[in-house]
């Protein structure tokens, strides 16, 4: 295994592989550092293809000395060629990475799979998180499967579906009167003095590594090739940057050839600190108070904002924002053309793809991957009232008088 240390992304100071996430010297974020120089591309590829049908087929690229024992695994979700969506948008080739097809129906199963394995390795018995919902579901489920106690902190105004799909696993659900940034601040303070593994606080460097597996999977499912463009949502910016990191590690090892694809980030206009900073040419984000139906993206103070900006610029991509109406239309567009029902975050991403296509930002020969991170059944309010239901008597006459037949 290639994992070496934790390393500060700002000043490169190294730390041991423990529950640390902030550099003592400069407050920069810590990230897992690897040495892949011993990996042979052909042998690694064979090992991946013979590996388990989960994120653990990429164990050589995850922060463990040896593959951990886990009770519930994420990954190997479908990459679907979306020809009808591509045709509607006038793009040659669109692939939808449907990460709603994970155990708790979002990409958060990947990060929690890794974070919990590391938490157990480090000896933690209690797991916690600050969440906008999807992470809450995943932490609750994976903790239950592993037999660990969990505390899940959510904003009190969260969608009911996401609260129900957390409590059912036996988690301690704590609704905080405030927005996600308030929840996050509380968890950061609580993490100082409690022997708990907060997946997105004190074990965040490991948690974030789980998102790389989305990049590995996309590349493997494309036959070990890179796409030309990736359109993905931005909340904290961690997923967005880690998909690129996944690609770049594989290029380094020789599993992939070519340049980093153009990375286009998607935000909701009602919470678009990264898109705003991108538009203004800033290197850092000014925090905002979120107001959007895309609650899973409602992080007003994005931790990885500066890195998301840097990636969008250096890869020739960009970061856009879309309105709540465009989000609803995006959910409908994806559903109508692919049969995939996504939550509001996926509506943001699909609407952003449409915006890019309409603006002419996508070349005619491009292969584009749309990253769909969550399930439509978790945000049903977003589609309520967007279509009509015809009610009839149980008779042929009634049906024929009410429904205009498509013959």
């Amino acid at each position: 295994m290639a994992v070496e240390a934790l390393k500060c992304k700002e000043c490169s100071t190294e730390y041991p592989l423990e529950a640390l996430y902030v550099c003592d010297k400069c407050f920069g974020p810590l990230e897992v550092a690897y040495d892949f120089s011993d990996l042979d591309a052909a042998e690694t590829r064979r090992k991946i293809q013979a590996g388990p049908r989960s994120i653990w087929r990429y164990a050589d690229f995850l922060p463990f000395e040896r593959r951990p024992q886990t009770a519930l695994d994420a990954g190997t979700t479908p990459l679907v060629k979306a020809d009808r969506l591509a045709a509607e948008l006038g793009i040659r080739e669109v692939w939808v990475k449907n990460d709603a097809a994970n155990p708790t129906h979002s990409f958060k199963d990947r990060v929690v799979n890794v974070a919990l394995a590391k938490a157990r390795e480090l000896g933690y018995e209690v797991v916690a998180c600050a969440s906008t919902g999807n992470l809450a579901n995943a932490v609750a489920a994976h903790s239950a499967a592993a037999g660990l106690e969990s505390y899940v902190f959510i904003p009190a105004d969260l969608e009911e579906q996401k609260i129900l799909a957390t409590g059912v696993y036996g988690a301690n659900v704590v609704a905080v009167k405030g927005n996600y940034d308030d929840v996050n601040k509380l968890c950061t303070e609580l993490s100082h003095d409690r022997p708990w593994a907060f997946v997105n606080v004190n074990v965040r460097p490991y948690y974030a590594e789980g998102s790389k597996t989305l990049g590995y999977e996309i590349a493997e499912q494309l036959g070990f090739e890179l796409p030309d463009r990736v359109v993905a949502p931005i909340a904290s910016g961690s997923l967005f940057t880690k998909i690129a990191r996944g690609f770049e590690e594989w290029v380094e090892v020789g599993l992939l050839q070519g340049e980093t694809p153009a990375f286009n980030g998607a935000q909701a206009e009602g919470c678009s600190p990264v898109a705003h900073a991108y538009g203004e040419g800033w290197d850092i984000c000014k925090p905002v108070k979120p107001d959007t139906i895309a609650k899973s993206l409602a992080i007003g103070n994005p931790a990885d904002g500066p890195y998301a900006l840097e990636l969008a610029r250096r890869s020739g991509g960009g970061i856009d924002s879309v309105t709540d109406d465009e989000i609803r239309q995006g959910i409908g567009l994806l559903a109508r053309t692919t049969g995939i029902f996504t939550e509001t975050a996926g509506g943001v991403t699909t609407a952003t793809l449409r915006k890019l296509a309409e603006r002419g930002d996508i070349d005619s020969d491009e292969r584009v991957v749309l990253v769909i991170t969550g399930e439509g059944l978790k945000t049903l309010d977003a589609v309520r009232g967007t279509f009509d239901v015809t009610t009839v008597e149980p008779s042929v006459e009634s049906f024929e008088s009410h429904v205009a037949l498509a013959t």
Partner: protein, 95 residues
């Protein structure tokens, strides 16, 4: 005028330079910047960890009464007797 006292909450990552203290009090400060100056004077090595070129480093969040000072007046944000200033790393989170 009675003396002004501001409570400051210190995160784990800075406790190496505060001799383990998680909370302290700064007196006679009128702004967040002055509170921080008071801390820098008291704790050797604190300034370079969270500040750079007279401003806070980009991964440091400071709150007054729970509100991020970037929603207030930044380092110029006024503080009053009894206010609580919290310093936290900015790198947590991810929905």
């Amino acid at each position: 005028m009675p003396p002004v006292a501001i409570t400051v909450k210190i995160p784990t990552q800075l406790r190496a330079v505060t001799a383990g203290e998680g909370e302290t009090t700064i007196e006679d400060a009128g702004t967040v910047g002055e509170v921080l100056d008071g801390l820098y004077e008291r704790y050797d090595g604190l300034r370079e960890r969270i500040a750079e070129d007279g401003d806070l480093r980009r991964f440091v969040n400071v709150y007054v009464g729970g509100e991020d000072i970037r929603f207030l007046d930044g380092l110029e944000t006024a503080v009053e007797d009894g206010d609580e200033v919290t310093i936290l790393p900015a790198v947590a989170g991810g929905s």
